[in-house]
C-alpha cells in the first residue's frame, strides 16, 4: 500500500504520463484507498456491508470536496495562485490518506470483513462472469457505435444485464450477499457505461455545463464563483472534485465524467439495496434494485447529470444513516446532517428535493401519531434478523431541529456562500410566468407543436420592437416557413416485420408497453403504499414509521414535481421518481406481489420477478430494439432524439474550436439550435463562464451573430427549439436558404457550418 502510494506521488510530481497505469493507480490513491481505510475501521462497527461501503465512499468524497475547498481558500492567502494544481492536490490526498491510515491503525475493525474467493460457488462465479461481461460489452458496444458501427454489441450488453437479473433471483439461495453486491455494482456500471461512453467528446444535456465549470476550475487551477456566477459553478462535485481527480489521473478530461464518475455512481444501487434490506428480505431487495437501475432515467440521463450522481450517493448514505439500527438517535441525526452538507455542495436541487422529502415525512409522522395507534411490536412471524427487528421501532431522526439544520445548510451554502438560491427560484418563476409548464396535469388544453411554433414566431417578432434592425429582416423571416417534423421511429427489423405480417401492430405495441410500464409502476406503488397503511392500521409494521414517512415524503415530492412548475422547472418528475426509488423501490415490489397474491405465494413470487424482468426488457429498449418501430435510444443507435440533440461529432468539435480561436469572438452573439450548450467553449484558453449561446430559430437570428449549424440541421435540415407555449422541444425544418441569403458562410467541414 505504502509502495503504491509512493509510486503515485512520484508519477504525479514528475508528471509522468503512463496510459492506463496512472489513471488506475491515481483512482486507487484518490478514492479507493481512503475508502478502504475507512471501510475497515471500527467507526462503522456492526453496520452491514452496503452501509459500510456507502458511508466510507460518501465520507471520502466529502473529505475530498471539503479539503479541496479548504486548500482553494487558504493557499491563495499564502501566495499560491493555483491551489488546485496537481502538486497541491497530491499533498492534500497524502494528508487525507495519512490521517485515515492513523485512524485505521487506532480503530481497526478486528471482525472478518473479507471473503475467500476459494469459497465461490459455481453459481456465484457464473453471475460474476456474466456481470463482468456486461461491463466489457458495454464498453465495446459504445466504442463500436462511436466508430459508426452497429449497436448489436451494446444490445448484447443489455441482454446480459437481463440474464444477470434473472439468475440473481433464480440462484439467490446459492449466492452470498457480498457476491450479490459485486454483481449489482458490475451490472449497474455496465448499464451506465452504455450511455456515458457514447461519443468521443462530452455527450449529453446537463453535462455540457457541468464540463464547462469543471474546465473553468481546472483551467484557472482555482475555484471561484467569480468565474461563473451560475448555479452549476456552485456545485463542488463538478468543480473541485473532478479537478482533483483530473489532476491526479491525468486522463482526457471528458473521461473524468464519462468513466470515473460512473465508477462512483454505480455504488448507489448497492445503497438502494442496503436501504431495502433494512426492512425486506433478499428477494424483495434485489427486485427493488432492479426497479432502481431499470428505470430509464438511471442509464439514459444520470450519466449526463454528474452532480446529481454524487448527490445521490449522499442521499443513499443519509437514508442509511437515518435508519441505522445500531447508532444512537443523536449520531443518526448528526450523520444525516453531514450527508445533507455533502448533498448541498454536490447538487442544490437534490438537496431541495431531500429537504422537501424530510418536510413531508415530518408532517406525516405527526399525522400518524394523531390518526394511527402507536407503534407496537411487529407481528410478522418470519422475521429473524435482530437488526431488521430493531429497524421497525427506531426513534425518528427527522425532527424540527433537523429540518432547521437542513434549511440552515441551504441558506449557508446556497444563499450566503454562492448566492445561487435565488437563481433556482427565478428559473422556476420564469417557467411559471412563461407558461412553459402547466399548473396541473389536467387543467391545460394540449397545444399542438404547430400552434406552439406559430406562437413562438409571433411572440419573437413582436418582441423585436425598436431593435428590429438588429435581426434578419422581418419580411424575410416571416416568409421562411418552419414546418414541424415528427421524430421518426426505427425501421421494423426482421422479427418486427414477421410480427407485423401476422397482424401484430408493432409500433402501437411498443407504445402500449411503454405506457403499461409507466402506469404499472405507479399502480404497484399505490397498491404497495395502501397495503403498508392497512397493515399499520392492523398494528403490523412492514416498515418502521420513520421509513414509511420518508416514502410518503418522496412520493409527495414526485407529485410536487408533476404539478408544481417552480419545482418541475429545476428537477422534473423523472429525476424525482429516480430519487424516490431509493425509498419506495421495495414498495413497488410489494404492490406487485399483492396483485399476484391470488395465484398463491410461490406463484406470486415468480410472477413478480417475471414482471420486473419484463419491465426491464421494455425500459432498457432491448425488446423494442429487436422489433423496431420504436424511438431510437442513444445507447443503442446512431440516431434518435438524444443523438440529434446531444451527440458531438469530431466535426462539431472542430467547428467549435475554430470559432473559439477567432479574435474577439464574444463581440458577437453566438447562436445555434437546441442544445445550445453543446457549443460552449471549454478549452482553458477560451472557456468563459459568462458565455451565452442563444437559439437560432429564424425569427431570433441577429444580423451580426455567429450561427453554427450542425447535424441534424446540416444534412436533413431538421432543427429543434424550445417552444414555451407547450413547454416542449419542437422539431422543425430549418430554412437554411435564409441564412445563405443574409449571411456569409465563413467555415465548413462538411458536417458543421458557421455563418457570420
Amino acid at each position: 500500500m505504502l509502495v503504491l502510494a509512493i509510486v503515485v506521488n512520484i508519477i504525479v510530481l514528475e508528471n509522468i504520463d503512463l496510459p492506463v497505469v496512472r489513471p488506475v493507480l491515481g483512482f486507487w490513491f484518490v478514492l479507493v484507498l481512503p475508502s478502504y481505510l475507512l471501510f475497515t475501521t471500527s467507526v462503522w462497527r456492526k453496520c452491514t456491508p452496503p452501509e459500510r461501503l456507502g458511508y466510507s465512499v460518501a465520507a471520502t468524497i466529502f473529505l475530498l470536496m471539503a479539503a479541496g475547498l479548504a486548500v482553494n481558500e487558504i493557499l491563495p492567502l499564502v501566495g499560491v495562485s493555483r491551489p488546485l494544481d496537481a502538486d497541491s492536490i497530491l499533498v492534500t490526498c497524502d494528508l487525507i490518506n495519512l490521517a485515515l491510515y492513523a485512524l485505521n491503525i487506532r480503530y481497526r475493525d478486528r471482525s472478518e470483513l473479507g471473503f475467500s474467493f476459494a469459497e465461490v460457488s459455481k453459481q456465484e462465479f457464473r453471475l460474476l462472469m456474466t456481470a463482468s461481461l456486461t461491463v466489457v460489452l458495454a464498453v465495446l458496444g459504445a466504442n463500436r457505435l462511436n466508430n459508426g458501427a452497429s449497436g448489436h454489441v451494446a444490445m448484447i450488453a443489455l441482454g446480459t444485464a437481463v440474464l444477470v437479473g434473472f439468475f440473481s433471483v433464480r440462484w439467490m439461495s446459492y449466492t452470498r450477499e457480498s457476491i450479490m453486491l459485486i454483481v449489482i455494482y458490475l451490472t449497474s456500471l455496465g448499464l451506465l457505461l452504455t450511455t456515458s461512453l457514447r461519443g468521443w467528446y462530452i455527450t449529453g444535456h446537463d453535462i455540457q455545463q457541468e464540463y464547462q465549470v469543471f474546465q473553468l476550475t481546472e483551467g484557472h487551477g482555482h475555484w471561484s464563483m467569480a468565474y461563473d456566477p451560475g448555479s452549476y459553478n456552485a456545485c463542488l462535485s463538478i468543480t473541485i472534485l473532478p479537478t482533483e481527480l483530473g489532476q491526479i489521473l491525468h486522463v482526457d478530461s471528458p473521461y473524468v465524467y464519462k468513466l470515473f464518475f460512473q465508477l462512483i455512481f454505480a455504488l448507489t444501487p448497492i445503497l438502494a439495496y442496503g436501504i431495502a434490506r433494512r426492512y425486506f428480505n433478499r428477494g424483495i431487495s434485489t427486485l427493488a434494485v432492479a426497479y432502481f437501475v431499470g428505470f430509464p432515467t438511471f442509464f439514459t440521463d444520470m450519466p449526463f447529470l454528474n452532480r446529481q450522481e454524487i448527490a445521490f450517493l449522499f442521499v443513499g448514505a443519509g437514508v442509511l444513516a437515518a435508519t441505522n439500527t445500531v447508532w444512537s438517535w443523536r449520531r443518526r441525526q448528526v450523520s444525516l446532517i453531514v450527508a445533507g452538507i455533502g448533498m448541498e455542495v454536490s447538487h442544490y436541487s437534490t438537496m431541495y428535493m431531500f429537504v422537501g422529502t424530510l418536510g413531508i415525512a415530518l408532517l406525516c409522522s405527526y399525522a400518524l401519531r394523531i390518526f394511527i395507534r402507536s407503534e407496537s411490536k411487529p407481528e410478522r412471524p418470519h422475521l429473524r434478523r435482530g437488526q431488521r427487528l430493531r429497524a421497525y421501532g427506531l426513534r425518528n431522526a427527522v425532527t424540527f431541529s433537523l429540518m432547521f439544520a437542513f434549511i440552515a445548510i441551504v441558506f449557508g451554502w446556497g444563499t450566503l456562500a454562492t448566492k445561487t438560491t435565488g437563481q433556482v427560484l427565478t428559473t422556476g418563476g420564469g417557467a411559471l410566468s412563461s407558461h412553459s409548464i402547466s399548473l396541473n396535469l389536467f387543467g391545460k388544453a394540449a397545444i399542438s407543436p404547430e400552434m406552439a411554433l406559430t406562437e413562438l414566431r409571433d411572440d419573437t417578432l413582436k418582441s423585436r420592437g425598436s431593435q428590429a434592425a438588429l435581426y434578419l429582416p422581418t419580411s424575410a423571416v416571416a416568409a421562411a416557413s418552419t414546418p414541424v417534423v415528427d421524430q421518426p421511429t426505427t425501421p421494423l427489423t426482421t422479427i418486427g416485420r414477421a410480427a407485423d405480417s401476422v397482424g401484430i401492430p408493432v409500433v402501437a405495441l411498443n407504445s402500449l408497453v411503454r405506457n403499461f410500464v409507466a402506469y404499472g409502476e405507479q399502480l404497484f406503488l399505490g397498491i404497495g403504499l395502501v397495503s403498508l397503511i392497512v397493515s399499520r392500521r392492523r398494528g403490523q409494521h412492514l416498515v418502521g414509521r420513520q421509513f414509511f414517512c420518508l416514502c410518503i415524503g418522496s412520493i409527495g415530492m414526485v407529485a410536487a414535481n408533476t404539478v408544481l412548475p417552480v419545482v418541475a422547472a429545476d428537477y422534473g418528475p423523472l429525476r424525482a421518481f429516480q430519487q424516490g426509488l431509493l425509498f419506495f423501490g421495495p414498495i413497488i415490489v410489494i404492490g406487485s406481489m399483492i396483485v399476484f397474491q391470488p395465484i398463491g405465494r410461490y406463484g406470486a413470487r415468480i410472477a413478480t420477478s417475471a414482471l420486473c424482468l419484463g419491465f426491464f426488457l421494455a425500459t432498457s429498449t432491448v425488446v423494442p430494439q429487436l422489433m423496431g418501430g420504436n424511438l431510437a435510444e442513444l445507447n443503442l443507435n446512431n440516431a434518435g432524439l438524444y443523438y440529434d440533440l446531444y451527440y458531438v461529432s469530431p466535426q462539431e468539435s472542430s467547428a467549435k474550436s475554430w470559432l473559439g480561436a477567432q479574435p474577439n469572438v464574444f463581440a458577437y452573439q453566438i447562436q445555434a439550435s437546441f442544445l445550445q450548450e453543446k457549443f460552449y467553449f471549454t478549452d482553458p484558453f477560451s472557456a468563459n463562464g459568462y458565455q451565452a449561446v442563444t437559439d437560432a430559430y429564424p425569427t431570433l437570428v441577429l444580423r451580426d451573430s455567429w450561427v453554427i449549424l450542425a447535424p441534424p440541421t446540416v444534412g436533413t435540415n431538421h432543427a429543434y427549439t424550445l417552444t414555451p407555449a407547450n413547454g416542449a422541444l419542437t422539431e422543425y425544418k430549418y430554412p437554411t436558404g435564409l441564412l445563405r441569403q443574409y449571411k456569409d458562410v465563413v467555415y465548413t467541414n462538411g458536417k458543421a457550418v458557421v455563418y457570420k
Binding site: S116, L140, A667, Y668, V746, Y747
Partner: protein, 165 residues
C-alpha cells in the same frame, strides 16, 4: 463482532465449486479462436479495431482566415484579398484543389484556382486576391473545394468606397 453475511455461505444448501478446469479450457479456447480469426480474417481485425480503438473520422476544414473582417463593399473592378485555410483531417495526405468564383446570381464565374498536396493534420494557408466579376451590385465570392463538396463565401456591394464589416 462478525458482520452479517460477509463471506458467509448460505447455510441450507450444498455449494458446488466451479469447474475451474472447464472454465480455463473454455476461456483459452475462445481466446485462441479469436486470435486465429483476427490473424486470418481482415473483417475480424476490422471488427476488433472498431470495438477497441477510436477510428479516424475523415474530414476537411475550410475557413476564412479573417472571418470577422470580410469586405462588405468593394470598388468595382478592383482586386479583393481572399485569405482562407484548408485543414486536412482526413487521416492521410490529400491533394486539394480550390476554386474561387464570383457572381451575382446562382451561377458563378470561375476566377482562380490552385492545388497542393497537404499532409495529414496540416493546414494550407492561402492568401490571394481576385477581381470579382458580377453583373449586379450585390456580389458573392465563393471559395470551394469541388472534390470535397465544401464551400465558403461572402457577399458584398460593388461601390466606389471600401468599408469593413
Amino acid at each position: 463482532m462478525r458482520n452479517v453475511d460477509i463471506g458467509q455461505a448460505p447455510e441450507d444448501l450444498q455449494r458446488e465449486q466451479p469447474n475451474w478446469g472447464l472454465w480455463l479450457f473454455g476461456a483459452t479456447l475462445v481466446t485462441g479462436i479469436l486470435l486465429v480469426a483476427a490473424m486470418l480474417s481482415p473483417y475480424i481485425r476490422h471488427q476488433f479495431a472498431v470495438s477497441l480503438i477510436r477510428q479516424t473520422t475523415p474530414y476537411t476544414q475550410l475557413a476564412f482566415t479573417r472571418a470577422v473582417s470580410l469586405p462588405v463593399t468593394v470598388v468595382r473592378g478592383e482586386a479583393v484579398d481572399v485569405s482562407f485555410t484548408i485543414t486536412n483531417n482526413e487521416g492521410k495526405p490529400v491533394a486539394y484543389r480550390y476554386l474561387i468564383s464570383s457572381g451575382s446570381g446562382s451561377t458563378l464565374q470561375s476566377l482562380s484556382s490552385s492545388g497542393r498536396t497537404v499532409a495529414a493534420g496540416a493546414t494550407w494557408e492561402v492568401d490571394t486576391s481576385v477581381v470579382p466579376k458580377c453583373a449586379q451590385s450585390a456580389c458573392r465570392v465563393q471559395v470551394s473545394l469541388p472534390q470535397q463538396a465544401e464551400s465558403i463565401d461572402f457577399m458584398f456591394e460593388s461601390e466606389n468606397t471600401t468599408k469593413h464589416k
